[in-house]
Amino acid sequence: MNRSQKHLSSIAGALRRVSVFLVFTLALSASNLVAGVLVAPTVIFLSSDSRTGRMTLQNLGDTPQEVSVFFSFGLPTSDSLGDVRVRLQDSAVTDPKACLDWVRAFPRRLIMPPNGTQVVRFVANPPRDLADGEYWARIVVKTQDATPNIPEPSGEGQITTKLNMVMQTAVMLKYRHGDVFCELELKGASATFRDQIVEVMIDANNVGNASYLGVLSCQLVDATGREVATKRTQLAVYRDMRRRVMIPIPEGEFVRPFEINLNITSKGRTDIAAEDMLYGNDIEYSAVVE
C-alpha cells in the first residue's frame, strides 16, 4: 500500500468513526425526551461467505429497558389500492424463502441500562441443499420499561390505571446464497388527477431471485414542461408490488394536461452500504395524467 492509498484508507476510517459517532450523538440528543431503543442498521445482510452479522441497540431513555429479540416473517405486500403493508407472521411460516428457522440471535433477552449500548449478533446455519437466492426474516426488537411504575390508589376504594407502552421494531434480515440477481418489470403505470392531487399507481414484478431495493422518483410537469412537483420514496419489491404515490399540486399557474415522469433505480439508496446493495435494472416511464 503506497502513501496515497494509506491516506485514503485513513480518511475512510475517520469517516466511519464519524458515522458511528453521529448515530450515537443522535441517540444521546433524544435521551432526555423519551423511552425507546435505537436500532441500527435497518437491514442486516448475511451470506454464504459471511454467515454472521451484528446490530447495535441503544437505550435512549433514562430508565432501564427490557429488550427481547426474536424472528418473524413479513414481506412488504400491497393491496388493490396500492397501500403497502408488512404483516408479521411468527409461526406456521411456509414461504420457501423464509430463513427464520435457521438464523439465531445472541443475546435474545437483556436489560439495557439508561443510555446503554448493546451489540446483538446473528448467525445463520442454512441447510446444505439451499438453492441460489435470497432468504428473508424479520428481526423484531421488542422493548418496554424494565421497571414499570404501577400507580397505587391513593385512597380506599379508588381505581387507577396504567398502560405500558411496548415498542417493536421489525428490521429485515437477508441471507444471500450463490448467484443472486434482481430484475424489475413494470407491468403497468397510470396517473390520475383528482382534488388537486395526482395519484400515481405502478404495478411491478421482480423476476429475480433476490429482492429489488431502490428508489421511486416521480416528476410531475405541466403542458409547458414546467416542473409542478416531485416525489421520491424508497421501494422494495420482493415479488409483486402495486404501489400508489400521492402528489399534491402546489399553488401556482400550471397548464394542464400534466405529464408524469417515473424513474425507478436501485442506485441512490443512502441507508444501505454499497457493498451490500444488489444493483438491478433501471426503469423510466412517462404518461399523460388523466
Binding site: 453521529l22 443522535l26 400507580p151 381505581i159 415498542m167
Partner: protein, 184 residues
C-alpha cells in the same frame, strides 16, 4: 421543554443529513489516478414512547374517554431515514387487569382514535389534519406514513369502561406498537 428538545433533534438531523450527503460520495485524492474511499452512514430506526395513554383515576360505572387530541393521549415517536415509508401496527388490549388477575376492566379504541403527525410536533392538542392523517383506525392503520425530517408522532386516544362493581385497585395493560420499513 419538550418542544425545545424536539427542535434540537431536528437541528441535529439536518446536520446528519448534510454529513450523510457528504459521506455518501466518493472521496477522491486528486493526485492519485486510482483508488477511492467511501463511507456509509449507519442509519438507525427508533421507536419511542413520549407519553403513556393516561386515564388517571376512574370511578365505578363511569366511562372515561381520552381523545386523541387530549394532552393525556398516548404518544409514540418514530424517527429514521427521511423518504422512508413506515408500516404501523397496533396490538391493543381488550381489558386492563389487576396485578393478581382477580378483576378486569374493559378498555376500547374506536375507529377514529389515532392521529398520525408527520411533522412530529409532539403535541396532540395542536394537531391539524394538514399535518398528517386524522382520525385513523388504530386497529387497521391503512395509511403508510412517510418519515419527515423530525420523524412521525402517533397520538392515541381511547376509553375505559369500569363496571358498577369494579374492584378497587390498580389496573394495567399493554399497548404494543410495531413499526417496519416498507422499503427495505
Amino acid at each position: 421543554m419538550h418542544k425545545q428538545s424536539r427542535t434540537k433533534i431536528s437541528g441535529i438531523l439536518v446536520i446528519a443529513i448534510a454529513l450523510m450527503a457528504f459521506m455518501g460520495t466518493s472521496v477522491n485524492a486528486q493526485d492519485v489516478a486510482t483508488g477511492s474511499a467511501t463511507a456509509t452512514l449507519v442509519v438507525a430506526l427508533t421507536v419511542a414512547s413520549g407519553a403513556a395513554l393516561a386515564f388517571g383515576n376512574v370511578y365505578q360505572g363511569v366511562t372515561k374517554a381520552i381523545a386523541n387530541t387530549d394532552a393525556a393521549a398516548g404518544i409514540f415517536n418514530v424517527t429514521g431515514l427521511e423518504d422512508a415509508v413506515l408500516a404501523i401496527y397496533f396490538q391493543l388490549p381488550d381489558y386492563l387487569a389487576t396485578a393478581t388477575g382477580d378483576d378486569r376492566m374493559v378498555i376500547s379504541f374506536s375507529s377514529t382514535d389515532l392521529n398520525i403527525d408527520t411533522t412530529a410536533a409532539g403535541a396532540p392538542a395542536g394537531f391539524v389534519a394538514a399535518n398528517g392523517w386524522i382520525d385513523e383506525d388504530p386497529h387497521n392503520v391503512t395509511s403508510s406514513a412517510d418519515i419527515g425530517s423530525g420523524g412521525v408522532d402517533l397520538y392515541l386516544g381511547g376509553r375505559v369502561i369500569p363496571s358498577v362493581d369494579q374492584t378497587a385497585g390498580a389496573y394495567t395493560g399493554d399497548i404494543i406498537l410495531t413499526v417496519a420499513y416498507t422499503g427495505s
